[in-house]
Amino acid sequence: MPPNLLPADRRRSNPFATRHTRPGAVPPLDPAGAPLRVEVVLAALERHRRVAIVGPHGTGKSTLLAGLAASLAADRQPAEVVRLRRRRDALRLIGMVARGTADTTLLVDGWERLGRPMAVLIAAIVRLQGRRMVVTSHRANGMPVAVRTAGTLPLLTAIVGRLPDHGGLISGDDLSDAFARHGENLRDALGDLYDRYELRSRRS
């Protein structure tokens, strides 16, 4: 029973839409564009108990954290994930820390949003509990750095290679140009490529 198909132009999905580029949709990659094995982070976590993934905006920190969460879930290791985007999330983190158990790994995205006093307090409580914790941050924050992320052209090229097919509407020059305009912030570079694809797909 063949599926009923729609004309192709109605079904074109922009490969740079957030549903394809969000953390977790693309596996974590290193600055050279090669798969970044979460075992690197896990090994550092075993050694230091609390580690950080450090790097500028849009360089894959959240993606790596999402990959780590998936890996822990696949191994049936309990983990809690908190993304600090709003003030309410900091309260949620405090609640998690307060009622947490030593065997649950804490994964915190956006550690720098906590502010120094709160960060010091939570780190101290987590240390007392004996819990493992992985945080993402734009700067080194006193924790051992498990991975330093960086936005590079090879990384951008590798990410685009893992997105749905763009049908030849995006060239290597487009990638170089987008990277040159937005520097290390690959999220902005992908947004730039979204606009280019959208414009050209309507024209073609």
Binding site: T18, R22, P23, G24, A25, H57, G58, K61, S62, L65, A66, G67, A69, A70, L72, A73, A79, V81, V82, R83, L84, R85, R86, R87, R88, D89, R92, D109, G110, E112, R113, T136, H138, R187
Partner: protein, 433 residues
């Protein structure tokens, strides 16, 4: 927990510009009110509550002999409407520790009736012994009665309490409103979505179409509805005005305190040090408010009425534009626009992109000359395309229709005023309006 809302906009919730900066501005406004409440409350506590507490806890009891009597007179109000009050007073001689002290003490409350105050004074006799309490740190300060004036406490704490409640509730609401949805877990690499996550209010029977109740609750004077404006100008003006009034009230109280000290021959350097930055901020607040007020007054209000609402694809409607102000306008333009709005949050970034994907001019007028008390009025016809997309709003994405007025006064900065409208989808089987 539902927090009290001390004011709400008549036509509901609208936010323009950056969602983040809007929330930040709102939070700063409420935080400022809280600070004013704390400062005002602090002043009242130190001026009234603390002295009263000291009288009841620190003062030592003694027995004083009345060696003199008199009426203390106070005048309130300006020279043109001066009012006097009278208070019975006695001069007491009393032992204060190892020494003898002599000081005046009030022997009753303030009376507006001099005769009543005299009557109270006559009941006290020279040589009479009275129980009194004196300040061990300053023996020359003595009182004849103790206790707490609870009514005074309630009244004097009312204003700072109101500021604290208003500012605190607003601040808590601003902070709480920064996130309504649950975080999406990425533990399995997928994003489980909560179908029941709270989003914008929808019209009943039309999922994901924003409610237009707030847009149709104001009748027009000529056409059926008067549309509300989506602009921060009036709220900025109100916020600046409230801030200037409240802040300068605090400054005035501090200045009066400092002035009284100076007249009494004392210089409170700490108070003066605090006063200087407060005065600077107060003056800046007044300047900012005045400037905004002048701009708003000079440019004038923009009003828009429409013949029907909500709009439907294929429909034709009438709009009436009324522009107030003074002076010359290079031009005034009205257009119907369709704007897409996408909010993306990830990590510590929050970004909202806006894109006008369709625009249709409705009218353009050049070389206008406006005078105070008169308005420029013009009518225009709105055609909504038959295949137009309806209005849409979800938590992070939106498709908004709006009527935009762009004006370029000759002497003042250009302005843009936006009037949101809602376009419904065409009902199945229904011909175009």
């Amino acid at each position: 927990m539902r927090l009290p809302r001390f004011f709400s906009k008549k036509r509901g919730h609208r936010r323009t510009g950056s969602e983040v900066w809007g929330s930040v501005g709102e939070a700063i406004f409420h935080a400022t009110l809280m600070v004013a409440g704390v400062a005002f409350g602090g002043l009242l506590l130190t001026g009234i509550a603390v002295p009263e507490w000291r009288i009841n806890h620190d003062f030592l009891e003694s027995r004083g002999t009345v060696v003199g009597k008199g009426l203390a007179r106070r005048s309130t109000g300006g020279p043109a409407a001066s009012r006097a009050s009278w208070q019975a007073s006695v001069r007491l001689r009393y032992p204060a520790g190892a020494e003898a002290a002599e000081a005046w003490a009030f022997a009753g409350p303030q009376e507006s009736d001099r005769a009543r105050a005299l009557e109270r004074l006559d009941r006290l006799k020279l040589g009479e012994e009275l129980v009194c309490w004196y300040d061990p740190a300053r023996p020359a300060q003595v009182v004849l009665s103790r206790g707490y004036n609870w009514w005074m406490w309630a009244l004097t704490l009312l204003l700072p309490g109101a500021l604290l409640a208003f500012g605190g509730a607003g601040l808590a609401r601003s902070l709480g409103r920064w996130g309504r949805s649950e975080e999406r877990q990425a533990a399995t690499g997928q994003r489980p979505r909560d179908p029941l996550a709270e989003g914008p209010a929808s019209t009943t029977g039309h999922p994901a179409i924003p409610s237009c109740e707030d847009l149709v609750n104001s009748p027009g004077t000529i056409l059926r509805y008067r549309l509300p404006i989506e602009s921060p100008e009036s709220w900025t003006l109100l916020g600046l005005g409230l801030f200037a009034v409240l802040w300068n009230t605090v400054v005035a109280l501090l200045a009066v305190n400092a002035g009284l000290d100076l007249l009494g021959g004392r210089i409170d350097w700490l108070l003066l040090a605090v006063l200087v930055p407060f005065v600077v901020v107060g003056v800046a607040g007044v300047v900012a408010f005045t400037r905004s007020l002048v701009l708003a007054t000079a440019v004038g209000t923009t009003q828009l009425e429409i013949s029907a609402h909500p709009l439907r694809p294929g429909g034709t409607y009438e709009a009436l534009l009324a522009q107030g102000g003074t002076g010359a306008f290079r031009d005034l333009e009205m257009s119907l626009e369709l704007e897409e709005r996408a909010t993306f949050r990830q990590g510590t970034d929050t970004r909202t992109e806006r894109l006008v994907v369709w625009k249709s001019p409705l009218g353009s007028w050049q070389g206008l000359q406006l005078s105070p008390g008169t308005r420029f009025e013009a009518r225009a016809t709105i055609h909504v395309p038959a295949a137009a997309m309806h209005s849409f709003a979800s938590e992070h994405n939106a498709v908004h229709w709006r009527i935009v007025i762009r004006g370029r006064p000759t002497r003042w900065p250009a302005f843009i005023r936006t009037f949101p409208v809602v376009v419904f989808p065409q009902s199945p089987g229904e011909p175009a309006a």
